[in-house]
Amino acid sequence: MFRLEARTSTPAWFNLALPLLAIGATLILCSGLIALAGAGVVEAYGVMFSASLGDSYAITETLVRAAPMIFTGLAVAVAFRAKFWNIGAEGQLLAGAVASCAVGAIPMPGPLAMLLMALAGAAAGAAVALIPATLRVKFRVDDVVSSLLLNSVIFYALMALIEGPWKDSFSGYPISPPIEDSANFPVLLEGTRLHLGVVAALVAAPVIWFVVARTTLGFRIRVTGENPEAARYGGINVERVLISTALLSGALAGLAGVGEVGGVHFQVMSDISPGYGYSGIVVAMLARLNPLGVVPAAIFLAAVMTGAEAMSRATGVPAFLSDVIQGTALLAMLVALLFTAYRIRRVGIAK
């Protein structure tokens, strides 16, 4: 007989083992779909891997795709640490993209433009995240539903902009005017799309790790998330911590939008984010809400997305497999997390 027993502590190697377990289970489960599509499982995963991580150009493409998910992953990780349930990273990303696009279209020296784009994008994301946080603190409104619904509001606001004042009057397409050439983020490797924003994302992860693990704010965020009553008893203003967390989280999600505008698209269109905000939730959960873990988790999802297109061309398996993998990975990780709360014990059968 087996029995579930509550666990009081988890060994450190779980942080690595659980995501790997979840990813392994995901790839095994999804291989059924590859077989259903009539392709070889090993071949399909092989193409996926080599097209996303097999050579240096592929790696740069994967990193470019990972950058926005590092930012949204950090945004979700920080928020979930404080148990501020920010499902709104998608809308905050879009707000950041719109704000940075507006700033980037103003002629000014390049470095100044990039700095102001980042500030404007972060501020816009933070402003959007402030809404569900304020509603929760002041009116006890459920932050999940309000932040989720705000995604739709921001999306329609973006659509109103690009189908209205920002519409391309020449072609009639619903796309914003491009930002100034001088505001385009510099490419770091000739012949690739590896831009400054990718480096910013890679730097942001250790910075946020430091904030969460080593600063007073980070301590307050963690205590508020783990035990709000104790936090309050210890003199922490829980409401203020939630607001600060939301501002930080929203700013990070906003920066994801800045990178997409400044380094990839140079303008805003309706499909500027293929759900990077929601992918951020998958990334954060795979990383067990650890900012350093966000980087490999985001690179994994990015590799799946980049590789899926090549896999589709080579084997005919629809590239939408990457979407299934994302959803399955999230659910598998949640199940794997049960091992942190419980352990399976063998017990003798009572006769």
Binding site: L149, G327, T328, L330
Partner: protein, 314 residues
């Protein structure tokens, strides 16, 4: 203004409201059952999409629309069971599981659709449901042709509202659902199985979400496109809150949303749009957020919503 009033009292306009409200009513009632039992189902957006796909596929392969509806309902119920497995049986976070179910179901819907139908420049379509006029009633001036000359799924939606209210408020099972959503501990002491009741409510909810998906791909658009649901699931989440977790009010909220949406479509078509139509599309979301802020003082949400039940924990 007079143009607006003229629009409102046209048969076509009234009929459009009812048609737009139908999938929302199914989805809203589905989400309501789930939440009344204490389980938030953010998987709704993906469940509707996957059901729309399986329904369309079954109908197009078999040639029978009702077989399509059955496939959609079964898909919805199955995905409801999956969500319940994670959130009720394993007690995992309802928010994150819901997002997971949505990501998984949408991905699977796109994947299977592309696998079955391939990439085509013109998406395949089916001959969807035709309107079924109800004798005598459809002869009533204005109201008759608008309300009683509709798809059979529309009549099902109309009937499902009083039926849902009856089940929830007048049957022992409905009482159990409300008990496990309000006070699972007390329900458990009274001999009601919290786990089983929640499973049943989430599965029933999923089946209703499946009907919503079926309506979209087999009556409204007669095709499956990637934008066939486009946020209607999220709207339903909002409408449940707006409708205060009550079948009548939730259905009323769906009707109100449909009215605004139909008006928006008309104004767009008649070139009256000084206001961007997106402003109208935003309205229900903003309304709901404001309504949640106003209503939160007299908490009406099921008390045990979002709280997993574990018998041994006191």
């Amino acid at each position: 203004m007079s143009v607006v009033l003229e629009q409102i009292f046209q048969v076509g306009f009234l009929a459009a409201i009812i048609r737009i409200a139908t999938p929302l009513a199914f989805a809203t009632l589905g989400e309501m059952f789930s939440e009344r039992a204490g389980v938030l189902n953010l998987g709704i957006e993906g469940i509707m999409l996957l059901s729309a796909m399986t329904g369309f596929t079954a109908a197009s392969l078999s040639g029978s629309l009702w077989l399509g509806v059955l496939a959609a309902v079964l898909t919805g119920a199955l995905m409801g069971a999956v969500h319940a497995l994670f959130t009720v049986a394993l007690g995992l976070s309802q928010h994150v599981c819901g997002i997971g179910v949505t990501l998984f179901s949408s991905g699977l819907a796109y994947f299977l659709y592309r696998l079955i139908f391939g990439q085509q420049s013109v998406p395949p379509n089916i001959k969807g449901f035709e309107t079924l006029p109800i004798p005598i009633l459809s002869g009533i001036p204005v109201l008759g042709p608008a309300v009683f000359n509709q798809f059979s799924l529309v009549y099902m939606a109309m009937l499902s509202i009083p039926l849902a209210a009856f089940v929830l408020y007048r049957t022992p099972w409905g009482l159990s659902v409300r008990m496990v959503g309000e006070n699972p501990r007390a329900a458990d002491s009274a001999g009601v199985s919290v786990i089983a009741t929640r499973f049943q409510a989430v599965i029933l909810g999923g089946a209703l979400m499946g009907l919503a998906g079926a309506f979209l791909s087999m009556a409204q658009f007669n095709a499956f496109t990637f934008g066939v649901v486009s946020g209607r699931g999220w709207v339903a989440i909002a409408l449940v809150v707006f409708g205060r977790w009550d079948p009548w009010r939730s259905a009323g909220a769906a009707l109100l949303f449909a009215f605004v949406d139909a008006l928006q479509l008309r104004m767009q078509a008649s070139g009256l749009g000084h206001i961007p139509y997106e402003a109208f599309l935003m309205l229900p979301f903003i309304f709901t957020i404001v309504a949640m802020a106003v209503m939160s003082r007299n908490a009406v949400a099921p008390s045990a919503l979002l709280k997993p039940f574990r018998r041994e924990e006191r």
